[in-house]
């Protein structure tokens, strides 16, 4: 896995390769099963979980339906508290803004808190082109960065690596980025964490610029919230002189009180803890404590396009807990890289095609990267009906139709490669509109049932490779109903 998402193959091809990697599957199985049971226990401690979940969804819906109002309120509050607010319509604009802000400080190195938004826009690569080195300080991000790898999980980007692989990466790579790994480093997680502590401490103590995302932005007070475990977030948020936070516009919540919902939902869904070790909140700048300069870069990059879709909009409720990844049977087997973006798993399968559009091969394949089993919806702390959005996006891929892309309303053409599906659906639609033809067809199918092949011929062959064809009964339901209860010769009559 090289460190770029460019030219990623469609999900089925990437997944086919990943599922043959038995070590990857073992690593994923171990990690996802560990966290699954813990999460269930943490959630069971709160007997009002369903009500919290409903409130979590409702607060986000309120915010999204009035996002312009809350963004302006947020901007005013942040500015009043001494921060500077920038707006970026897309990834390039966000990268240009951050690069300029770092250049203005005269620094060529920055420390970073783990942030999905900066992964999404490829900030590290953009900074590197400008001669600025970005150091990832989250342990898993460090593992990914040192291994020239890509993240494969929202919470634990290095979930695809087991402890001995991590030890090997640390031994091999740490020296070229700063302090080398300690002599005789073992693969015990405690020793690996200690090695990361020593390696990064030097960077924290000298860093002048920190870059972060945020989990929440409170519109009424202008407060940003970062939820973390290791303390690297606190280091980056408090020690540098300049702090730049790049945050998706959908991270807004209206009020301080709203945090009472999410600070209960997020830790239990994410790391299965009652509360994560560290949560930092800050409002603009504080005299004599922490950064003297604070920039907030508000990022669109496909979010308003997603907002324009009344079915797909609910994906913007996501608080990036990763519970849906941990329960997903497809993610557990295919791993995160197959999803071709920083957002893997079920939530990635609905976020990526909406942020980037469904025109690309990878993006068009993602809505199909699911068995629609619904486990993701069940665990989602903000009740995103992921299967509903997946089916909606499948329809968009197959049928095309009106969408908003980069703020412009346009009409998508149906995707190629779904001709057989469309033809079958059209035929089914016609048959259901013509009851007599449907009855004749069903009777014919019933009479010839012993002659039916076990597998489909032609293009349907691949489909029946992994599925049983449904058996046709000797008598259709409608015939049975008529024979046993029916009083009229015609179906649908109201006698």
């Amino acid at each position: 896995m090289s460190g770029t998402y460019l030219g990623m193959p469609a999900f089925p091809r990437a997944a086919a390769a990943a599922t043959r990697d038995s070590r990857l599957r073992a690593n994923l199985r171990h990690a996802t099963h560990t966290i699954r049971d813990k999460r269930a226990k943490a959630v069971a401690e709160l007997d009002d979980w369903d009500r919290l979940r409903a409130a979590g969804a409702a607060v986000k819906d309120r915010t999204l339906r009035h996002l312009d109002h809350y963004l302006e309120q947020l901007e005013t509050a942040v500015t009043d508290a001494g921060g500077q607010v920038h707006w970026a319509a897309d990834a390039d604009e966000a990268n240009r803004i951050v690069t300029r802000l770092v250049r203005e400080t005269g620094e060529t190195e920055v420390v970073k808190v783990k942030s999905m938004a900066t992964q999404e826009i490829g900030l590290n690569e953009a900074l590197a082109e400008a001669g600025i080195r970005a150091y990832e300080t989250d342990l898993a991000e460090l593992i990914v960065q040192l291994g020239r790898d890509l993240p494969s999980h929202i919470l634990v980007p290095a979930i695809h690596r087991n402890r001995s692989e991590i030890r090997d990466i640390f031994r091999r790579e740490m020296a070229s980025w700063g302090r080398a790994a300690p002599e005789g480093l073992s693969d015990s997680p405690a020793e690996l964490a200690e090695a990361a502590r020593l390696h990064l401490r030097e960077k924290f103590l000298t860093a002048k610029v920190g870059i972060s995302g945020a989990n929440f932005m409170v519109a009424e007070s202008g407060t940003l919230v970062v939820v973390e475990s290791e303390g690297n977030g606190r280091m980056c948020l408090t020690l540098p002189e300049t702090l730049i936070s790049v945050v998706g516009i959908e991270k807004t919540v209206p009020t301080w009180q709203d945090l009472e919902v999410y600070l209960q939902l997020l830790p239990r869904s994410s790391t299965a803890e009652r509360m994560n070790p560290y949560t930092s909140t800050w409002t603009g700048t504080t005299d004599g404590d922490g950064p003297r300069t604070f920039h907030l870069v508000l990022l669109d990059n496909g979010r308003t396009d997603t907002l324009a879709d009344t079915v797909g909009r609910q994906a913007l409720r996501c608080i990036r807990c990763s519970a849906c990844l941990n329960v997903c049977p497809v993610y557990e087997r295919a791993g995160g890289h197959a999803y071709g973006s920083p957002y893997p798993g079920p939530i990635g399968a609905i976020l990526t095609p909406q942020f980037r559009g469904t025109e690309g091969t990878l993006e068009a394949s993602l809505p199909y990267a699911s068995s629609l089993c619904g486990a993701c919806y069940e665990v989602c702390p903000v009740a995103i009906d992921i299967p509903e959005v997946l089916v909606h996006l499948r329809e968009r891929v197959v049928e095309g139709g009106p969408v908003v892309r980069n703020g412009v309303r346009t009409v998508l053409r149906p995707a190629r490669g779904h001709a057989a599906e469309r033809a079958a659906m059209r035929a089914a639609g016609w048959a259901f509109d013509h009851p007599d033809a449907l009855r004749r067809g069903m009777r014919l199918a019933a009479r010839t049932r012993r002659l039916h092949p076990r597998r489909l011929p032609g293009p349907g062959r691949a489909w029946s490779d992994t599925r049983e064809l449904p058996a046709v009964p000797a008598e259709s339901f409608r015939d049975w109903w008529q024979r046993t209860r029916g009083t009229s010769g015609r179906e649908g009559s109201a006698e």
Binding site: H66, T271, P277
Partner: protein
Amino acid sequence: MSGRDVVLARVRRALADVPRGEGPEDWPVERDYRRVHGARTTAQTVELLAENLADYRAIVHRCAADGLPALIRRLLAERGAETVVVPPGLDPAWLAAADVTLVPDRAAQTARELDAVDSVVTGCAVAIAETGTLVLDGGPDQGRRRITLVPDHHLCVVRVPGQVVGSVPQALPRLAPDRPLTWISGPSATSDIELDRVEGVHGPRTLEVILLTE
């Protein structure tokens, strides 16, 4: 058009389905979840705090006001701490018995200077029982955020029951959003290796909490 105008215009176009007359507050949010989970006496709430702190590997001690200086002295001595950073408003009596060099929390202090300090002693703003969380708000007995971050040993005094609340919903109204807050639940930890929790990464690896009976 500025980036701001572009993004806000896109948001407004995207929300064409929202009825014109609908205000933000018109969209219903039911807050029928619990303010606190379970009925507890004050003593039981303090007990739960102690349990949950310990569950996340904080070391919990209890004492009354007259025993505090001796307890702090003992805990610092057991750590072998020679230097201790203290916020400006910390009660001087707390450290009066300790045989250590006090390092005041100053604006001019560099992170590297702090890195050489053994321990930090602070109070807190609020403690949350259900989650085992201490909240620091930069008050006079808590100091700048970095002093509880860079040293490897944090000794935090919680006045019980006055500073203890049951739940997160009870904690937020007692905290001011315009102050920089640090919520601490156990020592620094990570789940990044095989989703298994390991204590001790960048923040203080040892968190000791003294429940001070008022």
